[in-house]
């Protein structure tokens, strides 16, 4: 038996023993997601246990080094772990901007102090992070950001406004882009800083979405004190790090449309809604549309896999992340529109227990943001055209 096969067997046995039954059902609502953090209320004891057990092995961040609490697994082992979790429909133990975004940036660019301070609590799901990038005047033109950090010797004083900050009202810490030098080319005067959301001068105001929920906020920063040792990488070098972090975010958002473990596939849903006649979907128009989507979705899934396999261990997927983000989010929007349409009247009711309080249309509306958050589709296409194709 190869080492990898042995790892698979051990992992399978461990998961069988340790993944609670109720954590082997699909994540269907926001409440099913475990985000951790100081103020998180676990949905169930099983949810807490599942996080605790996985975190103990470092398997919430399986490819991070063990010295910072990670699982220390190789790329191949991470893949096996994912396959084995999928096999039993295990839920992700933790949803975390820490693991998906700031963690990899601290690992690559952060000081030893920052690694020791921030990575273990991320792995354990103790600290929840939010991303303070966008500003009212700086969305697609992120480098145009105006939030100011003024050098006060051992610390900075930060003033400005962030917008569209997802979960700012629930997060414990923010990773935030600030302007530390206004006198140079805009990309060269930016730093990435970290601060506790309880620091005096930080306030948040939720913004309501078209789907009816309020996951994102305006964040106001007024004379916020940030210690110098909380700068990731060098002062004024934040843009490179910000972009590196974005590639991780993009790969993640591109995967949003993937059918969660145990969730019904689109074609299964279609059969349920529309029925079969002689083994064919009863509606011809839908059948053709669905087949086209299904082919794109499968091709996309294989592409994701291929790009991951090609990437070096511990490296992000680089420029390809723009392609994955663009294609994945557009696919998900198509899927969501089809789900609404195949449900007909039932897919349009917005309230009422019988209709799951409008879960179907709300989810479609939320998906419209996928091609905006983390850099719009247009920006991804620009990146592909410029950075991959060299069209300038």
């Amino acid at each position: 038996m190869t080492d990898l096969e042995q790892f698979r067997q051990e992992t399978r046995a461990w998961l069988e023993e340790n993944c609670p039954r109720s954590m082997r059902t699909p994540v269907l609502s926001a409440e099913d997601q475990c985000w951790g953090g100081r103020n998180f209320k676990f949905q169930s004891e099983d949810q807490r246990l599942w996080l605790e057990r996985m975190a103990e092995r470092g398997w919430t961040a399986p490819d991070w080094p063990t010295e910072y609490g990670g699982g220390g697994l190789s790329k191949e082992q991470v893949k096996v772990l994912r396959e084995e979790m999928d096999r039993i429909n295990a839920r992700p133990p933790l949803h975390s901007f820490g693991i998906w975004m700031i963690g990899p940036a601290i690992l690559k660019f952060g000081s030893e102090k920052l690694k020791q301070q921030h990575l273990p609590p991320i792995v354990r799901g103790e600290i929840r992070w939010c991303q303070g990038y966008s500003e009212p005047g700086a969305g697609s033109d992120l480098a145009g950001l105006q939030t100011k950090a003024v050098d006060q010797g051992d610390h900075f004083i930060v003033n400005g406004q962030k917008i569209w900050t997802s979960y700012a009202d629930k997060a414990d810490w923010m990773f935030c882009l600030v302007r530390t030098n206004p006198d140079v080319k805009k990309q060269l005067g930016i730093s990435l800083v970290l601060f506790d959301m309880e620091t005096p001068g930080v306030t948040t105001r939720p913004i309501k979405l078209i789907s009816g929920s309020s996951p994102f906020c305006e964040t106001f920063l007024e004379d916020v004190r940030v210690e110098k040792d909380q700068v990731v990488g060098e002062v004024d070098q934040g843009w490179t790090i910000a972009k590196y972090l974005l590639t991780h975010e993009r790969a993640m958002i591109g995967g949003f449309g993937r059918t969660a473990a145990g969730e019904k596939t689109l074609s299964e849903q279609a059969v349920e809604c529309l029925g079969l006649e002689d083994g064919r979907l009863a509606d011809d128009m839908f059948r053709a549309e669905l087949a086209r989507w299904d082919i794109d979705a499968k091709a996309f899934e294989l592409t994701n896999e291929r790009v991951t396999d090609e990437a070096k261990s511990g490296q992000g997927v680089g420029a390809a992340s723009a392609m994955l983000k663009y294609y994945g989010t557009e696919l998900n929007k198509r899927r969501q529109e089809m789900i609404v349409a195949m449900n007909g009247f039932d897919g349009l009711v917005f309230e009422g227990e019988q209709w799951d309080q409008g879960a179907v249309p709300r989810s479609m509306l939320r998906s419209k943001g996928n091609s905006i958050e983390g850099g719009t589709s247009e920006i991804q296409l620009n990146v592909i055209a410029r950075n991959i194709l060299g069209l300038v």
């Binding site: 009816g212 897919g347 009711v349 509306l365 905006i372």
Partner: protein, 378 residues
């Protein structure tokens, strides 16, 4: 055949409707109805004023108290209603109710009901769909003759204005099996009759619909001949779909206009985002698509006024194309507004949320494209 342009009279009606709806039933008014969780779902006062303007009688012949302005005229009102997201019982009552009674009612019914619709004292609702996706043939609701009337049993959904209507127009089976076109009858049922249960459903556009259940409910009478209701229903649905196509045109156009304005205002990278060719081309494409919608909508409305043979195909053409383009226009609207487009505070998302139910009601793109193909022999 008339030219594909409005007559002077129709243009005047459009201008009047535009001024009125902009002032009395703009997007802010829909927000008010939504945020106050208004029980009726539209303003009775505004509806009374629309009645005074003669809008409720647009499809009703002058002999019965209407203006007889016709489908093209009504289409202008719907387009403006689409632009303003104006809520009113215009569709349920002045289009579906008026068309059904006008096509199938006996002299007495026409006299009583058309007059009442035109003067605003009657709100009707069409209870046709039973399946989640539009399928007017799929009728399992049954009406059994009993004494000198009928007793109705069954369940209907997507009944627009069902919770406030005085009378329901119900398709029910008096003979035949589910999906037979023979044996479907149209009946008038009082909403407050015993055995009628109405549950209002709040839709994603915050407009009205209802699920209606009939449990041994007594019908007031037949509308048209027993067992011959399907042919009438098809024509009523054509009238409705043509107006929905006109509303989708208004939604697409307004969403587009607002988006173009945003492209001219919003700055990133030191320039207006409208200067990026990637967005320019998409806006120009959308402009072209909307031009096509204008043509198919007016042609379908004219066909209804002329009672042309190819009316059903022209209506499906209009509803399919308008649905497709409204979906594109509202999606592009949100996308090109970036984060702003995702907020409830900004209006652009409301157009998307109104478009989807209008697309779906009485058949979406897929339904009408398929019907168009069938009507054209393939």
């Amino acid at each position: 055949m008339t030219g594909l342009v409005l007559t002077e009279e129709q243009q005047m009606l459009k201008d009047a409707a535009k001024r009125f709806l902009q002032e009395r039933a703009p997007v802010a008014e829909l927000r008010r109805l939504r945020d106050e969780r208004d029980e009726t779902g539209f303003s009775r006062d505004t509806w009374a004023e629309m009645v005074d303007m003669g809008l409720a009688g647009t499809l009703i012949p002058e002999d019965f108290g209407g203006t007889g302005f016709g489908h093209v005229g009504m289409g202008q009102v719907f387009e403006e209603a689409g632009r303003n997201l104006s809520a009113s019982p215009l569709l349920s009552t002045a289009v579906l109710g008026a068309a059904a009674v006008n096509l199938a009612g006996n002299a007495e019914q026409k006299q009583a009901l058309l007059g009442a619709i035109a003067e605003g004292s009657l709100v009707t609702a069409l209870a046709a769909d039973e399946a989640p996706r539009h399928d007017p043939l799929k009728v399992e609701t049954r009406a059994e003759a009993e004494g000198d009337g009928y007793v109705v049993n069954g369940r209907k959904q997507f009944v627009v204005d069902g919770h406030v209507a005085d009378k329901l127009i119900v398709s029910a089976r008096t003979s035949g099996g589910s999906s037979d076109s023979e044996g479907i009858s149209l009946l008038l049922v009082d909403r407050e009759a015993d055995g009628v249960d109405v549950e209002r459903t709040i839709m994603m556009d915050n407009r009205n619909a209802a699920v209606v259940t009939f449990d041994n409910a007594r019908a007031e009478g037949l509308l048209g001949e027993e067992g011959k209701g399907y042919a009438v229903l098809e024509r009523v649905l054509d009238a409705g779909n043509a107006q929905l196509a006109a509303e989708l045109l208004g939604i697409a156009q307004e969403s587009f206009d607002r988006t173009v304005k945003y492209l001219q205002e919003r700055k990133q990278f030191g320039v207006t985002i409208g200067s990026f060719q990637g967005l320019q081309h998409r806006a120009a494409h959308l402009f072209s698509e909307i031009e096509l919608v204008k043509s198919v909508v007016i042609r379908a409305l004219q066909a209804l006024d002329e009672d042309a043979d190819d009316t059903p195909a022209l209506v499906s053409l209009a509803k399919a194309k308008a649905s497709e383009v409204a979906e594109l226009a509202t999606n592009e609207g949100v996308q090109m507004h970036g984060g702003m487009g995702m907020t409830d505070e900004f209006d652009i998302g409301l157009f998307l949320k109104r478009a989807r139910p209008v697309q779906q009601l009485f058949g979406d793109y897929r339904y009408h494209a398929s019907r168009y193909a069938r009507l054209n022999g393939y």
